[in-house]
Amino acid sequence: MKRIGVFVCHCGTNIAGTVDVKAVAEAMKHEPGVVFSTDYQYMCSQAGQEMIKAAVKEHRLDGIVVCSCSPRMHEATFRKTAAAAGLNSYMVEIANIREQCSWVHKEMPIGTEKAIILAKAAVAKVSLNAPLTPGESPVTKRALVIGGGIAGIQTALDIADAGFPVDIVETKPTIGGKMAQLDKTFPTLDCAACILTPKMVDVAQNEKIRIFSYSEVTDVKGFVGNFDVTIKRKARYVNETLCTGCGACTEKCPMKKVPNEFNLGMDNRHAVYIPFAQAVPKVATIDPNHCLMLKSGKCGLCSKVCGAGAIDYKAKDEFLEERYGAIVVATGFNPISMEKFDEFAYAQSKDVITSLELERLMNAAGPTGGTLLRPSDHQHPHTIVFVQCVGSRCEACAEKGKEYCSKICCMYTAKHAMLIRDKYPDTDVYVFYIDVRTPGKNFDEFYRRAVEEYGVHYIKGMVGKVTPENGVLKVQGSDLIDNRQLHIDADLVVLAAAIEPDKSARPLATMLTASMDTNDFFTEAHPKLRPVESPTAGVFLSGTCQGPKDIPETVSQAGAAASKVIGLLCKDKLLGNPCVAHSDEMMCNGCSTCEKVCPYGAITYEDKEFRMPDRTTKVRRVAKVNEAVCQGCGACTVACMSGAMDLKGFMNKQIMAEVDAICK
């Protein structure tokens, strides 16, 4: 039997005003296991804590019940007190007789009676408490950032800045992501390349950062502090260390008609290519789908012209295994496919383009050298119609669009409209909008400038139909404010396509056991309290993989994710929450039910040999809880039929003892 001490706090008159604290202390003296019971003005005060310590020593207490305010207030305090007195800090239970008793009840007899019952429940629980020690696990002081867009770049730079090594894994041959394809950025209208490329160079030059471009993550094992990650380095047929990025190979490559994905297929590149001038790493890549040498074995020109001897047609995919303490997901977004929106004739006319395509058409490094020309006939468009919310806020057509608002379209459309009107004042620009959403610093001012200073025609309504006819795009839409149907002959129609998470996110989420919402955006551990962490410990979220974001937001989230990673990597050891699930192997059926309800992927199974009571051995599949990953919710304990799974600190027995004590 335990030797329990009960300490009843007056909390001035907060408790003592409605609860006869002396009576509570007296009543508790008669409870089985209680060897000492007393009351005091302020238990949480220095003197109160000293009193507890003294009592622990004098009465050899091995369990403490403090009847006081909410455990959410002072449980930590009294746990420290217990530890200071030489007790395990988890041998403390709090009876909440303030918030849940004295403050909600008015009459002394009622309050006192309930306080005694709550105290009895706490005594019943503490009688079954066992000392708990938080598990420790070492931290590998290296981070992995998956995705090399602005989110990944910023996160990596910030982590490296704090002195920790970081690896970036990027599927494309270069880092830079979507931002590298943008022309200007809102609301300042500064050039995207001017702010991004220096950061890319920083990354390349930072000794703490390794870039695995043209690579992908294929497997993740382990848990916070110790993730074992397999990275596939796709064969690029060019030796990265030897290649100087001189570009001689690309010039000589006879395969010139490969659609250039950097310019969204609006011009061509060679089979061996460097995506763009400021690419990092600036090395060539051979596209195996188009290279004559790789396809038919006939050519080899690039190899001949390469002074560095970097071309290697025999290269194979390589797999690297690395260990990381933390993983940041920054897989980003893509505009959704416009192919299915027949009404906008995207597939029928080259002059119906997406906003991202417009970015390339306006960019000096783009297919038109920065002059806005219609893709079909390379003429200057004079009438341009922008259509907002294409595929966004679209509930009815799940196979085409997305239910959510893509958030960035209102602002970039205003930017486009403004830039066009600025550069080509003879152009008529119409923007069909449902709502104009501009929450953000200087955002609404920006939009108003488009209307007021640049004369962009904003029309409340939606385009219903675009019909290509004799080189003109007949746009039919509604003007809800004027209550009329508009018919505009446009030269160019720009669709603000909804954005969706990158397709690589879903399989990655499975590898990481990180949860996703139905739209395949990663779920944050808590929308307000832990917005940059995934519920899976050690996995952090940066940028649009978590939800639509503009660049300022992405960069700030990237910084936040980095600071969370730094906070983790600073530690030499991780102390777990000791109140974690534990499976009794002798009772476990290995049925995999608990694994299914675990939100953290903390449960795995292993075949284990058991010596049976009849002296035979038997191999059985049993569950194993990874204490470093378990967060202690207890979902598994109820899913477990045999009761093999229990939760330390909230054991079945303890909760039932509380129930019993309350229902006495």
Partner: protein, 130 residues
């Protein structure tokens, strides 16, 4: 102040199975409507007016016979509101309430056009009479 007709509204909602509250007022229905200029009240207005209960105005409007039932608005509505079904429901309500056919069998020969497919005549009869 609009004349509200809550009972008629309820009936129309029931008949059509449409929830006008899903409408986000984008106007794509009206943007896409081929009969727009013929109509006094446009598809998006049908949605709005049913929601506010202004059924009587709709019932008295020739608009209900101008809708071609091409269902472009239904197809393109991003919220799945289905304005054409509301038009249909209002039309049906008129026919049911008044026992008044928009056209009678007798009046048809005069309207006939040799090029009109048989199917269209039959479907027009179905649509415009009880």
């Amino acid at each position: 102040m609009s004349q509200k007709n809550d009972r008629a509204k309820e009936q129309i909602l029931k008949m059509s199975g449409v929830n006008p509250l899903k409408c986000m007022r984008c106007g794509k229905c009206s943007g896409t409507c081929p009969s727009y200029d013929e109509m006094e009240y446009h598809p998006h207005q049908f949605v709005y007016m049913v929601e506010t209960g202004e059924i009587d105005k709709l019932m008295q409007s020739p608009s209900i016979y101008k809708c071609l039932s091409c269902f472009a608005c239904v197809d393109r509505c991003p919220r799945g509101v289905e304005p054409a079904k509301l038009v249909e429901a209002v039309r049906l309500t008129v026919i049911r309430q008044k026992g008044m056919n928009h056209m009678t069998a007798d009046s048809i020969p005069a309207l006939l056009d040799d090029d009109l497919p048989q199917q269209a005549i039959v479907s027009a009869m179905r649509k415009y009479s009880k």
